[in-house]
Protein backbone atom coordinates (compact mmCIF):
# COMPACT_ATOMS: atom_id res chain seq x y z
CA UNK A 1 0.00 0.00 0.00
CA UNK A 2 1.22 3.50 -0.84
CA UNK A 3 2.46 5.68 1.97
CA UNK A 4 1.13 9.10 2.92
CA UNK A 5 3.42 11.60 4.63
CA UNK A 6 1.68 13.47 7.43
CA UNK A 7 3.35 16.57 8.86
CA UNK A 8 2.84 16.70 12.62
CA UNK A 9 1.82 19.94 14.29
CA UNK A 10 2.78 19.71 17.96
CA UNK A 11 3.83 21.92 20.84
CA UNK A 12 6.69 20.35 22.81
CA UNK A 13 5.45 16.87 22.01
CA UNK A 14 1.73 17.56 22.53
CA UNK A 15 0.09 16.75 19.18
CA UNK A 16 -2.59 19.22 18.14
CA UNK A 17 -5.96 17.85 17.10
CA UNK A 18 -5.81 18.77 13.36
CA UNK A 19 -2.89 16.34 12.98
CA UNK A 20 -5.01 13.49 14.34
CA UNK A 21 -7.72 14.44 11.84
CA UNK A 22 -5.07 14.31 9.10
CA UNK A 23 -4.10 10.78 10.14
CA UNK A 24 -7.76 9.75 9.88
CA UNK A 25 -8.00 11.23 6.35
CA UNK A 26 -4.59 9.83 5.35
CA UNK A 27 -5.80 6.29 6.00
CA UNK A 28 -8.34 6.71 3.19
CA UNK A 29 -5.53 7.01 0.67
CA UNK A 30 -2.68 4.99 2.14
CA UNK A 31 -0.50 4.19 5.14
CA UNK A 32 0.33 7.24 7.24
CA UNK A 33 3.99 7.98 7.90
CA UNK A 34 4.23 10.88 10.37
CA UNK A 35 7.00 13.50 10.39
CA UNK A 36 7.56 15.16 13.78
CA UNK A 37 10.21 17.85 14.15
CA UNK A 38 11.71 19.89 16.94
CA UNK A 39 11.67 19.74 20.71
CA UNK A 40 9.62 16.81 22.02
CA UNK A 41 9.27 15.19 18.58
CA UNK A 42 9.80 11.68 19.93
CA UNK A 43 7.10 12.16 22.55
CA UNK A 44 4.50 12.42 19.80
CA UNK A 45 4.98 8.80 18.74
CA UNK A 46 2.51 7.12 21.11
CA UNK A 47 -0.51 9.22 20.17
CA UNK A 48 0.42 9.14 16.46
CA UNK A 49 0.65 5.32 16.59
CA UNK A 50 -2.72 5.16 18.31
CA UNK A 51 -4.21 7.08 15.36
CA UNK A 52 -2.71 5.01 12.56
CA UNK A 53 0.88 6.10 11.96
CA UNK A 54 2.85 3.06 10.81
CA UNK A 55 6.06 4.99 11.21
CA UNK A 56 7.09 8.20 12.95
CA UNK A 57 10.09 10.02 11.51
CA UNK A 58 11.61 12.38 14.06
CA UNK A 59 14.36 14.96 14.13
CA UNK A 60 15.28 17.67 16.58
CA UNK A 61 17.66 20.57 16.09
CA UNK A 62 17.88 24.12 17.39
CA UNK A 63 17.24 25.42 13.87
CA UNK A 64 13.51 24.60 14.07
CA UNK A 65 12.97 27.11 16.84
CA UNK A 66 15.66 29.62 15.90
CA UNK A 67 14.77 30.20 12.25
CA UNK A 68 11.49 30.62 10.37
CA UNK A 69 9.87 27.88 8.25
CA UNK A 70 12.76 26.85 5.96
CA UNK A 71 14.43 24.31 8.33
CA UNK A 72 11.07 22.51 8.50
CA UNK A 73 10.84 22.55 4.70
CA UNK A 74 14.32 21.02 4.48
CA UNK A 75 13.29 18.26 6.90
CA UNK A 76 9.98 17.52 5.19
CA UNK A 77 11.84 17.33 1.89
CA UNK A 78 14.30 14.87 3.46
CA UNK A 79 11.36 12.76 4.63
CA UNK A 80 9.77 12.96 1.18
CA UNK A 81 12.99 11.77 -0.44
CA UNK A 82 13.50 8.98 2.09
CA UNK A 83 9.96 7.63 1.77
CA UNK A 84 9.49 8.06 -1.98
CA UNK A 85 12.83 6.32 -2.58
CA UNK A 86 11.51 3.27 -0.75
CA UNK A 87 8.34 2.87 -2.77
CA UNK A 88 5.24 4.79 -3.73
CA UNK A 89 4.14 7.94 -1.99
CA UNK A 90 0.46 8.82 -2.46
CA UNK A 91 0.45 12.31 -0.95
CA UNK A 92 1.96 14.73 1.54
CA UNK A 93 -0.60 16.11 4.00
CA UNK A 94 -0.01 19.19 6.15
CA UNK A 95 -2.36 20.94 8.57
CA UNK A 96 -3.73 24.21 7.11
CA UNK A 97 -2.23 26.52 9.69
CA UNK A 98 -0.51 29.68 8.47
CA UNK A 99 2.88 28.02 8.94
CA UNK A 100 1.69 24.67 7.60
CA UNK A 101 0.62 26.25 4.33
CA UNK A 102 3.97 28.02 3.95
CA UNK A 103 5.88 24.78 4.57
CA UNK A 104 3.69 22.87 2.13
CA UNK A 105 3.99 25.54 -0.57
CA UNK A 106 7.78 25.61 -0.50
CA UNK A 107 7.97 21.83 -0.46
CA UNK A 108 5.64 21.64 -3.48
CA UNK A 109 7.94 23.79 -5.61
CA UNK A 110 11.02 21.86 -4.52
CA UNK A 111 9.57 18.47 -5.43
CA UNK A 112 7.83 19.75 -8.58
CA UNK A 113 4.34 19.04 -7.30
CA UNK A 114 1.04 20.83 -7.41
CA UNK A 115 -0.50 22.01 -4.14
CA UNK A 116 -4.06 22.23 -2.88
CA UNK A 117 -4.67 24.35 0.22
CA UNK A 118 -7.49 24.45 2.78
CA UNK A 119 -9.13 21.16 1.81
CA UNK A 120 -12.21 20.41 3.90
CA UNK A 121 -12.43 16.77 2.84
CA UNK A 122 -10.27 14.18 1.14
CA UNK A 123 -11.08 10.95 -0.71
CA UNK A 124 -9.16 8.43 -2.76
CA UNK A 125 -9.80 8.83 -6.51
CA UNK A 126 -8.82 7.03 -9.72
CA UNK A 127 -6.23 9.69 -10.51
CA UNK A 128 -5.03 10.32 -6.96
CA UNK A 129 -6.58 11.98 -3.93
CA UNK A 130 -9.57 14.23 -4.54
CA UNK A 131 -9.82 17.28 -2.28
CA UNK A 132 -12.95 19.22 -1.49
CA UNK A 133 -12.52 22.98 -1.00
CA UNK A 134 -14.87 25.86 -0.25
CA UNK A 135 -14.79 28.94 -2.47
CA UNK A 136 -16.24 32.44 -2.41
CA UNK A 137 -17.18 32.61 1.25
CA UNK A 138 -18.31 28.97 1.11
CA UNK A 139 -20.99 29.68 -1.48
CA UNK A 140 -19.30 27.11 -3.76
CA UNK A 141 -17.77 23.69 -3.19
CA UNK A 142 -15.05 22.49 -5.55
CA UNK A 143 -13.41 19.13 -6.04
CA UNK A 144 -9.80 19.27 -7.18
CA UNK A 145 -6.76 17.11 -7.57
CA UNK A 146 -3.08 17.59 -8.15
CA UNK A 147 -2.11 16.77 -11.72
CA UNK A 148 1.69 16.93 -11.41
CA UNK A 149 4.02 15.26 -8.95
CA UNK A 150 3.14 13.88 -5.53
CA UNK A 151 0.03 15.72 -4.31
CA UNK A 152 0.76 18.19 -1.52
CA UNK A 153 -2.46 19.00 0.29
CA UNK A 154 -3.16 21.14 3.33
CA UNK A 155 -6.31 20.32 5.28
CA UNK A 156 -8.35 22.64 7.47
CA UNK A 157 -9.09 21.80 11.09
CA UNK A 158 -12.43 20.04 11.79
CA UNK A 159 -12.43 18.37 8.36
CA UNK A 160 -12.81 14.89 9.81
CA UNK A 161 -13.86 13.26 13.05
CA UNK A 162 -10.78 11.78 14.74
CA UNK A 163 -10.82 7.97 14.73
CA UNK A 164 -8.32 5.82 16.57
CA UNK A 165 -6.73 2.97 14.58
CA UNK A 166 -3.70 1.54 16.36
CA UNK A 167 -0.63 0.95 14.20
CA UNK A 168 3.04 0.23 14.82
CA UNK A 169 4.22 3.83 15.00
CA UNK A 170 7.85 2.74 14.89
CA UNK A 171 10.08 5.71 15.64
CA UNK A 172 12.89 6.29 13.16
CA UNK A 173 15.45 9.07 13.20
CA UNK A 174 15.23 11.26 10.13
CA UNK A 175 18.52 12.41 8.63
CA UNK A 176 18.32 16.11 7.80
CA UNK A 177 20.96 18.40 6.38
CA UNK A 178 19.89 22.01 6.40
CA UNK A 179 20.18 24.11 3.27
CA UNK A 180 22.10 27.36 3.21
CA UNK A 181 18.78 29.21 3.15
CA UNK A 182 17.55 27.55 6.34
CA UNK A 183 19.10 30.22 8.53
CA UNK A 184 17.90 33.19 6.47
CA UNK A 185 15.18 34.44 8.82
CA UNK A 186 16.14 34.57 12.48
CA UNK A 187 13.59 34.31 15.28
CA UNK A 188 15.16 36.79 17.71
CA UNK A 189 12.47 36.54 20.40
CA UNK A 190 9.38 34.47 21.11
CA UNK A 191 6.57 35.30 23.51
CA UNK A 192 4.14 32.43 24.04
CA UNK A 193 0.52 33.47 23.79
CA UNK A 194 -1.08 33.72 27.19
CA UNK A 195 -3.12 30.60 27.85
CA UNK A 196 -6.82 31.38 28.26
CA UNK A 197 -7.71 27.81 29.14
CA UNK A 198 -10.11 27.84 26.18
CA UNK A 199 -9.69 25.75 23.04
CA UNK A 200 -7.80 27.20 20.07
CA UNK A 201 -10.22 29.13 17.86
CA UNK A 202 -9.55 27.32 14.58
CA UNK A 203 -9.71 23.88 16.20
CA UNK A 204 -12.67 24.31 18.54
CA UNK A 205 -15.82 22.23 18.08
CA UNK A 206 -17.91 25.15 19.33
CA UNK A 207 -17.20 28.85 18.74
CA UNK A 208 -19.07 31.68 20.47
CA UNK A 209 -18.49 35.06 18.80
CA UNK A 210 -19.33 38.64 19.67
CA UNK A 211 -19.56 41.66 17.41
CA UNK A 212 -20.51 45.31 17.32
CA UNK A 213 -23.57 44.63 19.46
CA UNK A 214 -21.39 43.65 22.41
CA UNK A 215 -20.59 47.35 22.67
CA UNK A 216 -17.42 47.45 24.74
CA UNK A 217 -14.45 45.37 25.89
CA UNK A 218 -15.90 45.05 29.39
CA UNK A 219 -19.05 43.42 28.00
CA UNK A 220 -17.15 40.58 26.33
CA UNK A 221 -17.35 38.69 29.63
CA UNK A 222 -20.97 37.92 28.66
CA UNK A 223 -19.66 36.14 25.54
CA UNK A 224 -16.83 34.45 27.47
CA UNK A 225 -19.22 33.12 30.12
CA UNK A 226 -21.37 31.49 27.45
CA UNK A 227 -18.26 30.07 25.77
CA UNK A 228 -17.03 28.61 29.07
CA UNK A 229 -20.40 26.99 29.78
CA UNK A 230 -20.04 25.12 26.46
CA UNK A 231 -16.26 24.53 26.55
CA UNK A 232 -16.07 26.75 23.47
CA UNK A 233 -13.54 29.12 21.91
CA UNK A 234 -14.30 32.85 21.74
CA UNK A 235 -14.38 34.65 18.42
CA UNK A 236 -14.93 38.28 17.50
CA UNK A 237 -16.03 40.14 14.41
CA UNK A 238 -13.73 42.65 12.76
CA UNK A 239 -15.83 45.52 14.12
CA UNK A 240 -15.23 44.32 17.68
CA UNK A 241 -11.51 43.79 17.04
CA UNK A 242 -11.03 47.14 15.29
CA UNK A 243 -12.76 48.84 18.22
CA UNK A 244 -10.14 47.25 20.49
CA UNK A 245 -12.66 45.18 22.47
CA UNK A 246 -11.03 41.81 21.74
CA UNK A 247 -7.60 40.64 20.46
CA UNK A 248 -6.98 40.26 16.75
CA UNK A 249 -5.95 36.64 17.29
CA UNK A 250 -9.65 35.92 17.87
CA UNK A 251 -10.95 37.64 14.74
CA UNK A 252 -13.19 35.49 12.57
CA UNK A 253 -13.60 36.51 8.94
CA UNK A 254 -11.99 37.20 5.61
CA UNK A 255 -9.05 39.09 7.09
CA UNK A 256 -8.94 37.03 10.26
CA UNK A 257 -9.36 33.33 10.92
CA UNK A 258 -11.64 30.96 9.17
CA UNK A 259 -13.47 28.52 11.43
CA UNK A 260 -15.61 25.52 10.71
CA UNK A 261 -16.91 24.24 14.04
CA UNK A 262 -19.84 21.93 14.77
CA UNK A 263 -21.64 24.89 16.34
CA UNK A 264 -21.16 28.62 15.78
CA UNK A 265 -23.02 31.11 17.96
CA UNK A 266 -22.93 34.73 16.71
CA UNK A 267 -24.02 37.42 19.16
CA UNK A 268 -24.47 41.01 18.10
CA UNK A 269 -22.96 40.27 14.69
CA UNK A 270 -24.85 41.50 11.64
CA UNK A 271 -23.18 39.05 9.25
CA UNK A 272 -21.42 41.11 6.59
CA UNK A 273 -19.96 39.03 3.76
CA UNK A 274 -16.46 39.49 5.22
CA UNK A 275 -17.54 37.80 8.44
CA UNK A 276 -19.53 35.11 6.66
CA UNK A 277 -16.39 34.22 4.67
CA UNK A 278 -14.83 33.04 7.91
CA UNK A 279 -17.68 31.01 9.42
CA UNK A 280 -20.16 29.97 6.77
CA UNK A 281 -18.97 26.35 6.68
CA UNK A 282 -19.89 25.88 10.35
CA UNK A 283 -22.20 22.88 10.68
CA UNK A 284 -24.87 24.48 12.87
CA UNK A 285 -25.22 28.26 13.03
CA UNK A 286 -27.06 30.19 15.73
CA UNK A 287 -27.45 33.97 15.96
CA UNK A 288 -28.71 36.42 18.53
CA UNK A 289 -29.29 39.96 17.25
CA UNK A 290 -31.61 42.85 17.99
CA UNK A 291 -32.07 43.60 14.28
CA UNK A 292 -34.48 41.13 12.67
CA UNK A 293 -33.20 42.26 9.25
CA UNK A 294 -29.54 41.37 9.97
CA UNK A 295 -28.11 39.24 7.11
CA UNK A 296 -26.77 36.68 9.60
CA UNK A 297 -30.35 35.41 10.01
CA UNK A 298 -30.23 34.16 6.39
CA UNK A 299 -27.62 31.60 7.49
CA UNK A 300 -28.95 30.39 10.77
CA UNK A 301 -30.40 27.09 11.87
CA UNK A 302 -31.80 28.92 14.88
CA UNK A 303 -32.01 32.64 15.46
CA UNK A 304 -33.22 34.77 18.33
CA UNK A 305 -34.27 38.34 17.61
CA UNK A 306 -33.53 40.07 20.88
CA UNK A 307 -31.11 41.88 23.14
CA UNK A 308 -27.98 39.77 23.58
CA UNK A 309 -27.58 41.08 27.13
CA UNK A 310 -30.91 39.44 27.99
CA UNK A 311 -30.68 36.32 25.84
CA UNK A 312 -27.04 35.27 26.30
CA UNK A 313 -26.95 35.31 30.14
CA UNK A 314 -30.26 33.43 30.23
CA UNK A 315 -28.85 30.86 27.81
CA UNK A 316 -25.65 30.54 29.88
CA UNK A 317 -27.63 29.96 33.09
CA UNK A 318 -29.85 27.42 31.38
CA UNK A 319 -26.84 25.49 30.03
CA UNK A 320 -25.19 25.49 33.46
CA UNK A 321 -28.31 24.23 35.17
CA UNK A 322 -28.85 21.51 32.56
CA UNK A 323 -25.27 20.37 32.94
CA UNK A 324 -25.90 20.46 36.70
Amino acid sequence: MAEVLVYVDHVDGAVRKPTLELLTLARRIGEPVAVALGSGAENTAAVLAEHGAVKVLTHDAAEYADYLVVPKVDALQAAYEAVSAGGSLAAVLVPSSAEGKEIAARLAIRIGSGIITDAVDLEAGDEGPVATQSAFAASFTTKSRVSKGTPVITVKPNSAAVQAAPAAGAVEALAVSFSEKATGTKVTARTPREATGRPELTEAAIVVSGGRGVNGAENFSVIENLADSLGAAVGASRAAVDAGWYPHSNQVGQTGKSVSPQLYIASGISGAIQHRAGMQTSKTIVAINKDAEAPIFDLVDYGVVGDLFEVVPQLTDEIKSRKG
Partner: protein
Protein backbone atom coordinates in the same frame (compact mmCIF):
# COMPACT_ATOMS: atom_id res chain seq x y z
CA UNK B 1 21.54 53.80 -3.43
CA UNK B 2 17.86 53.70 -3.70
CA UNK B 3 15.89 51.04 -1.81
CA UNK B 4 13.92 49.20 -4.47
CA UNK B 5 10.58 47.95 -3.14
CA UNK B 6 8.28 45.80 -5.26
CA UNK B 7 4.73 45.40 -3.98
CA UNK B 8 2.77 42.50 -5.46
CA UNK B 9 -0.94 43.18 -5.71
CA UNK B 10 -3.97 41.29 -6.98
CA UNK B 11 -7.11 42.43 -8.74
CA UNK B 12 -9.95 40.41 -7.24
CA UNK B 13 -13.71 40.13 -7.76
CA UNK B 14 -15.63 42.24 -5.24
CA UNK B 15 -16.67 39.97 -2.36
CA UNK B 16 -19.98 41.77 -2.03
CA UNK B 17 -20.85 40.87 -5.63
CA UNK B 18 -22.29 37.58 -6.90
CA UNK B 19 -19.05 35.64 -7.40
CA UNK B 20 -19.09 32.42 -9.38
CA UNK B 21 -17.14 30.17 -11.72
CA UNK B 22 -17.00 30.34 -15.51
CA UNK B 23 -17.60 27.27 -17.67
CA UNK B 24 -13.91 26.29 -17.60
CA UNK B 25 -14.07 26.42 -13.77
CA UNK B 26 -11.87 29.51 -13.54
CA UNK B 27 -13.17 32.55 -11.67
CA UNK B 28 -15.76 34.41 -13.75
CA UNK B 29 -14.43 37.95 -13.92
CA UNK B 30 -16.97 39.34 -16.37
CA UNK B 31 -20.03 39.49 -14.15
CA UNK B 32 -18.52 40.99 -11.02
CA UNK B 33 -16.66 44.26 -10.53
CA UNK B 34 -13.02 43.89 -9.59
CA UNK B 35 -10.88 45.87 -7.19
CA UNK B 36 -7.49 45.91 -5.47
CA UNK B 37 -7.52 43.08 -2.91
CA UNK B 38 -8.07 44.76 0.45
CA UNK B 39 -5.23 42.82 2.06
CA UNK B 40 -2.81 44.19 -0.56
CA UNK B 41 -3.69 47.76 0.47
CA UNK B 42 -1.87 47.03 3.73
CA UNK B 43 1.20 45.95 1.72
CA UNK B 44 1.15 49.21 -0.25
CA UNK B 45 0.75 51.15 3.01
CA UNK B 46 3.75 49.46 4.64
CA UNK B 47 5.83 50.06 1.49
CA UNK B 48 4.94 53.76 1.68
CA UNK B 49 5.90 53.93 5.36
CA UNK B 50 9.19 52.09 4.78
CA UNK B 51 9.95 54.42 1.86
CA UNK B 52 9.23 57.44 4.08
CA UNK B 53 11.76 56.21 6.63
CA UNK B 54 14.42 55.40 4.03
CA UNK B 55 16.67 58.11 2.62
CA UNK B 56 15.83 57.11 -0.88
CA UNK B 57 13.32 54.52 -2.03
CA UNK B 58 11.32 53.61 -5.09
CA UNK B 59 8.09 51.63 -4.94
CA UNK B 60 6.98 49.57 -7.92
CA UNK B 61 3.59 47.85 -7.83
CA UNK B 62 3.34 44.64 -9.78
CA UNK B 63 0.31 42.63 -10.82
CA UNK B 64 -0.42 39.63 -13.02
CA UNK B 65 -3.90 39.73 -14.48
CA UNK B 66 -6.25 40.67 -17.28
CA UNK B 67 -6.67 44.15 -18.81
CA UNK B 68 -8.93 45.36 -15.97
CA UNK B 69 -6.22 44.59 -13.42
CA UNK B 70 -4.75 48.01 -14.30
CA UNK B 71 -7.40 49.39 -11.92
CA UNK B 72 -5.62 47.72 -9.01
CA UNK B 73 -2.32 49.29 -10.12
CA UNK B 74 -3.95 52.73 -10.44
CA UNK B 75 -5.30 52.46 -6.91
CA UNK B 76 -1.83 51.64 -5.56
CA UNK B 77 -0.28 54.46 -7.61
CA UNK B 78 -2.87 56.89 -6.29
CA UNK B 79 -1.93 55.86 -2.75
CA UNK B 80 1.65 56.92 -3.54
CA UNK B 81 3.56 54.11 -5.29
CA UNK B 82 5.93 55.44 -7.95
CA UNK B 83 5.48 53.14 -10.92
CA UNK B 84 3.69 49.99 -11.99
CA UNK B 85 4.22 46.82 -13.97
CA UNK B 86 1.33 44.90 -15.46
CA UNK B 87 2.00 41.35 -16.65
CA UNK B 88 -0.73 40.54 -19.11
CA UNK B 89 -0.95 37.68 -21.57
CA UNK B 90 -3.87 35.66 -22.93
CA UNK B 91 -1.96 32.49 -22.10
CA UNK B 92 -2.10 33.36 -18.39
CA UNK B 93 -5.82 32.59 -18.12
CA UNK B 94 -6.39 29.97 -15.42
CA UNK B 95 -2.87 30.05 -13.91
CA UNK B 96 -2.70 28.53 -10.41
CA UNK B 97 -0.70 29.80 -7.41
CA UNK B 98 2.46 27.89 -8.39
CA UNK B 99 2.33 29.36 -11.92
CA UNK B 100 1.52 32.83 -10.63
CA UNK B 101 4.54 32.69 -8.33
CA UNK B 102 6.73 31.81 -11.34
CA UNK B 103 5.47 34.82 -13.30
CA UNK B 104 5.79 37.16 -10.32
CA UNK B 105 9.30 35.91 -9.48
CA UNK B 106 10.53 36.43 -13.06
CA UNK B 107 8.96 39.89 -13.17
CA UNK B 108 10.45 40.84 -9.78
CA UNK B 109 13.90 39.75 -10.95
CA UNK B 110 13.54 41.66 -14.19
CA UNK B 111 12.37 44.79 -12.36
CA UNK B 112 15.18 44.59 -9.79
CA UNK B 113 14.40 44.57 -6.05
CA UNK B 114 15.74 44.78 -2.54
CA UNK B 115 12.43 44.12 -0.79
CA UNK B 116 9.21 42.45 -1.93
CA UNK B 117 6.06 43.21 0.06
CA UNK B 118 2.81 41.24 -0.34
CA UNK B 119 -0.49 41.07 1.46
CA UNK B 120 -0.96 38.01 3.70
CA UNK B 121 -3.40 36.44 1.20
CA UNK B 122 -5.73 37.49 -1.58
CA UNK B 123 -9.33 38.06 -0.59
CA UNK B 124 -10.60 35.72 -3.32
CA UNK B 125 -8.39 32.63 -3.20
CA UNK B 126 -7.36 33.20 0.46
CA UNK B 127 -4.62 30.54 0.32
CA UNK B 128 -1.84 32.85 1.51
CA UNK B 129 0.99 30.83 -0.06
CA UNK B 130 2.31 33.18 -2.75
CA UNK B 131 4.75 35.07 -0.45
CA UNK B 132 6.37 31.78 0.66
CA UNK B 133 6.46 30.57 -2.96
CA UNK B 134 8.17 33.82 -4.00
CA UNK B 135 10.82 33.50 -1.28
CA UNK B 136 11.49 29.92 -2.36
CA UNK B 137 11.78 30.87 -6.03
CA UNK B 138 13.86 34.00 -5.45
CA UNK B 139 16.10 32.20 -2.94
CA UNK B 140 15.80 34.99 -0.36
CA UNK B 141 14.53 35.02 3.25
CA UNK B 142 10.77 35.01 3.88
CA UNK B 143 9.65 37.32 6.65
CA UNK B 144 5.94 36.72 6.53
CA UNK B 145 2.64 37.46 8.26
CA UNK B 146 3.98 40.54 9.97
CA UNK B 147 1.79 42.83 12.01
CA UNK B 148 4.73 45.23 12.41
CA UNK B 149 7.59 45.79 9.97
CA UNK B 150 10.63 48.06 9.64
CA UNK B 151 13.74 48.28 7.47
CA UNK B 152 17.12 49.61 8.61
CA UNK B 153 20.26 50.32 6.64
CA UNK B 154 18.94 50.80 3.11
CA UNK B 155 19.23 48.29 0.26
CA UNK B 156 21.84 46.15 2.03
CA UNK B 157 20.27 46.48 5.45
CA UNK B 158 17.90 44.33 7.48
CA UNK B 159 14.17 43.88 7.76
CA UNK B 160 12.60 43.26 11.17
CA UNK B 161 9.07 42.42 12.09
CA UNK B 162 6.61 40.82 14.47
CA UNK B 163 4.71 37.68 13.49
CA UNK B 164 1.69 36.86 15.67
CA UNK B 165 1.02 33.13 15.43
CA UNK B 166 -1.50 30.82 17.08
CA UNK B 167 0.77 29.83 19.93
CA UNK B 168 3.36 32.60 20.10
CA UNK B 169 4.35 36.03 18.95
CA UNK B 170 7.77 36.07 17.28
CA UNK B 171 10.28 38.82 16.48
CA UNK B 172 11.91 38.11 13.12
CA UNK B 173 14.97 39.49 11.40
CA UNK B 174 16.57 38.94 7.99
CA UNK B 175 19.04 40.56 5.64
CA UNK B 176 17.84 42.16 2.44
CA UNK B 177 16.91 41.18 -0.19
CA UNK B 178 13.84 39.52 1.34
CA UNK B 179 10.15 38.79 0.83
CA UNK B 180 7.77 40.23 3.41
CA UNK B 181 4.04 39.74 3.84
CA UNK B 182 1.89 41.86 6.13
CA UNK B 183 -1.42 41.27 7.89
CA UNK B 184 -4.39 43.60 8.30
CA UNK B 185 -2.96 44.48 11.73
CA UNK B 186 0.09 46.20 10.22
CA UNK B 187 -1.66 49.56 10.05
CA UNK B 188 -4.68 51.17 8.44
CA UNK B 189 -4.16 51.77 4.72
CA UNK B 190 -4.44 55.41 3.64
CA UNK B 191 -7.12 56.69 1.30
CA UNK B 192 -5.81 58.16 -1.93
CA UNK B 193 -6.01 61.96 -1.92
CA UNK B 194 -7.43 63.89 -4.87
CA UNK B 195 -3.87 64.98 -5.63
CA UNK B 196 -2.75 61.37 -5.49
CA UNK B 197 -5.47 60.28 -7.88
CA UNK B 198 -4.54 62.99 -10.37
CA UNK B 199 -0.81 62.24 -10.05
CA UNK B 200 -1.42 58.50 -10.59
CA UNK B 201 -2.71 59.19 -14.08
CA UNK B 202 0.72 60.43 -15.09
CA UNK B 203 2.76 57.65 -13.49
CA UNK B 204 4.32 55.04 -15.77
CA UNK B 205 2.64 51.63 -16.15
CA UNK B 206 4.76 49.13 -18.05
CA UNK B 207 3.16 46.14 -19.74
CA UNK B 208 5.05 42.87 -20.00
CA UNK B 209 3.98 39.60 -21.56
CA UNK B 210 5.27 36.03 -21.19
CA UNK B 211 7.89 36.56 -23.88
CA UNK B 212 9.33 39.53 -21.98
CA UNK B 213 9.74 37.22 -18.99
CA UNK B 214 11.06 34.26 -21.01
CA UNK B 215 8.25 32.00 -19.82
CA UNK B 216 6.77 29.39 -22.13
CA UNK B 217 2.99 29.35 -22.53
CA UNK B 218 2.77 25.73 -21.36
CA UNK B 219 4.37 26.62 -18.01
CA UNK B 220 1.31 28.66 -17.04
CA UNK B 221 -2.41 28.95 -17.77
CA UNK B 222 -5.07 26.34 -17.27
CA UNK B 223 -3.08 23.72 -19.21
CA UNK B 224 0.16 24.39 -17.37
CA UNK B 225 -1.53 24.28 -13.98
CA UNK B 226 -0.27 21.58 -11.59
CA UNK B 227 -3.73 21.27 -10.07
CA UNK B 228 -7.03 20.56 -11.71
CA UNK B 229 -10.51 21.59 -10.60
CA UNK B 230 -12.90 18.82 -11.66
CA UNK B 231 -16.18 20.22 -10.36
CA UNK B 232 -17.53 23.39 -8.80
CA UNK B 233 -21.00 23.28 -7.33
CA UNK B 234 -23.00 26.07 -5.78
CA UNK B 235 -23.75 25.17 -2.19
CA UNK B 236 -27.42 24.52 -1.78
CA UNK B 237 -29.08 27.44 -0.03
CA UNK B 238 -29.47 26.75 3.65
CA UNK B 239 -32.96 25.67 4.51
CA UNK B 240 -34.62 28.46 6.38
CA UNK B 241 -33.88 28.18 10.07
CA UNK B 242 -36.19 28.75 12.99
CA UNK B 243 -36.26 32.37 14.10
CA UNK B 244 -37.93 33.40 17.31
CA UNK B 245 -38.47 36.80 18.86
CA UNK B 246 -37.27 37.09 22.44
CA UNK B 247 -40.20 37.77 24.71
CA UNK B 248 -38.38 36.92 27.88
CA UNK B 249 -37.72 33.24 27.18
CA UNK B 250 -35.36 33.56 24.16
CA UNK B 251 -32.33 32.17 26.01
CA UNK B 252 -34.27 29.20 27.33
CA UNK B 253 -35.75 28.47 23.91
CA UNK B 254 -32.27 28.54 22.40
CA UNK B 255 -31.02 26.17 25.12
CA UNK B 256 -33.86 23.82 24.21
CA UNK B 257 -32.74 23.90 20.55
CA UNK B 258 -29.10 23.24 21.50
CA UNK B 259 -30.14 20.35 23.73
CA UNK B 260 -32.17 18.90 20.85
CA UNK B 261 -29.02 19.04 18.69
CA UNK B 262 -27.04 17.32 21.49
CA UNK B 263 -24.74 20.27 22.10
CA UNK B 264 -25.73 20.31 25.76
Amino acid sequence: MSLRIVVTVKYVPDATGDRHFAEDLTVDRDDVDGLLSELDEYAVEQALQIADEADDAEITVLTVGPEDAKDALRKALSMGAHKAIHVEDDDLHGTDAIGTSLVLAKAIEKAGYDLVISGMASTDGTAGIVPALLAERLGVPQVTLLSEVSVEGGPTGTVKGRRDGDTASEQLEASLPAVVSVTDQSGEARYPSFKGIMAAKKKPVESWDLEDLEIEADEVGLEGSWTKVDTAAERPARTAGTIVKDEGEGGKQLAEFLAGQKFI
